[in-house]
Amino acid sequence: MDEEVISVQHLHKQYRDHVAVEDVTLSVRRGEIFGIAGPNGAGKTTSVECIQGLRKPDSGEIRVLGLDPARDITRLRQRIGSQLQQSALPERIKVWEALDLFASFVPGESNWPALIDQWGLTGKETASFANLSGGQQQRLFIALALINDPEVVFLDELTQGLDPAARHATWGLIRAARDQGKTIVLVTHFMDEAEILCDRLAIIDHGRVIDLDTPQALINRHGGPQRLTFSTDHNDLNWLETLDVVQDVTRTGSQFTVTGTGSLVPLVSHTLVERGIVPDDLRIHQASLEDTFLRLTGRDQMNGLAD
């Protein structure tokens, strides 16, 4: 499963007045959902547009399925699918007409009626694009992105403007597409989405990749210490600090907070129980990907790890 389908080396892209992508290096493996996350204006969309051959990079090397998007774009487009940020269809085009039209751009037979069913557009075939809800428009765009049965699918800000139910439904469909063997590149600034959906992700800020790994590894590496809180009548638990994993023990009234790293939770719990302390309100506070992201990008206003 570790076959590399996208490789980007030192991508750099400048617009007239500003640098959109400073230096991006990443690689995507076949069959994974790969996230590109970052704050607005970080260079996410420009990066994936270069990867899809929609923009020409100033420098750097890009290979998608072994092809150079700048040179082999025609061959490449037959093997990738795109859902673009801020793209649209003519207002008065009907759902079936759009699918039929985009299917006509693809060599060979297309099975677009199956996509209508798969993406929950049944009954909407003759509705105009403008009369679809936000969720339906997004599902139509995903169906269009899949119409050529691509090996790699690019989804840019997929769930923007969707309500929570529609987002969850969309996530399920994205997983289904991956389970059919497609590689998915997901651009997002929603960290909950990245954490739930992505197998691996790159966090981009100021046009650079800050780090790239699985969501859990990123949290472990950058999410800061874990915290355990519980209440007990015991007054002095400072002996907990003799455990290697514990960094700090603080007390507020009867409530204790133990801060530490690694296997903090099992070791502290075990030791407490050994000493006959069995709190019924023990809680684990671990950083989410969102906390990690805020720390990494220095957007937590607490002067995190940003350069």
């Binding site: 929609l54 025609t74 801020q86 649209a88 006509s104």
Partner: protein, 247 residues
């Protein structure tokens, strides 16, 4: 070819759902033709180049159909495709800028043809206007003129920033030209200043090219060469502009 065929047939369907365009192509020229012919009567005099006002306007109003479509409807349509990301969506699906422009050109040409035929029919039924002397010359002039002007409209639509500005600029170009290109007052009643402005307007060339075969003056090579020149230069510039994805 396959792509252009599908794109064109969908575009034609979409046009039938677009009241603004249909109004400008099918209703506006006929209404103005009827009003002007009604006002100026049906007497043949010298200002009307020796024919009746209705006859005079029938030929020139084919030019109005073409110019209204090409300058008002075509640019805002293409600009909206760029502005709303429809063009990007198509590009990402292997549709080239040339294919988009060509399908728009075909649709524009067919609309101009439909509008012109409706106009001729209305003029014939109501004012009994004479048919063109040279049908062949008319077909040639119409084809060159319509392709040239629609391409000019496509160039406009590929450079303006938004659909709104396309509409404003299109209307701003159309109405002065419409007043001065022989589609409003005939050239013989214009002042010298008006006429010297009129001479440099592309719509004047279009109207002259259409009037010559209609009135039996053959085809005007100069006009046709100018129109073909506009077609080639505007077409190349529009393709170049749309292909430059990096902005």
């Amino acid at each position: 070819m396959h792509t252009i065929k599908h794109l064109t047939s969908v575009e034609l369907k979409l046009i039938t759902r677009e009241p603004f365009t249909l109004l400008f192509v099918f209703v506006f020229p006929i209404v103005v033709l009827l009003v002007l012919s009604g006002v100026f009567g049906t007497e043949a005099t010298e200002e009307w180049q020796g024919t009746t006002p209705a006859n005079y306007y029938a030929a020139s109003y084919i030019g109005t159909v073409i110019a209204a479509l090409a300058l008002i409807s075509v640019p805002s349509h293409l600009a909206a495709y760029r502005e709303r990301g429809i063009l990007r969506r198509l590009t990402a699906s292997s549709v080239s800028a040339q294919a988009v422009l060509l399908s728009q050109l075909i649709v524009g040409f067919l609309l101009a043809l439909g509008g012109s035929l409706a106009l001729i029919l209305a003029a014939t039924l109501i004012y009994d206007v004479e048919m063109p002397v040279s049908i062949g010359g008319m077909i040639l002039s119409f084809t060159v003129g319509a392709l040239s002007f629609v391409t000019l409209g496509l160039l406009l639509g590929s450079v303006v920033p938004t659909a709104r500005s396309a509409q404003a600029i299109g209307l701003g170009l159309f109405f002065p030209m419409w007043m001065l290109s022989g589609t409003g007052p005939p050239p013989d009643v214009m002042s010298d200043t008006m006429r010297s402005i009129s001479d440099v307007l592309p719509m004047t060339r279009l109207v002259s090219a259409l009037q010559a075969p209609w009135f039996g003056d053959g085809v005007t090579i100069t006009e046709l060469v100018i129109l073909v020149g506009i077609l080639i230069i505007a077409g190349a510039a529009a393709v170049y502009r749309l292909r430059a994805a990096d902005q």
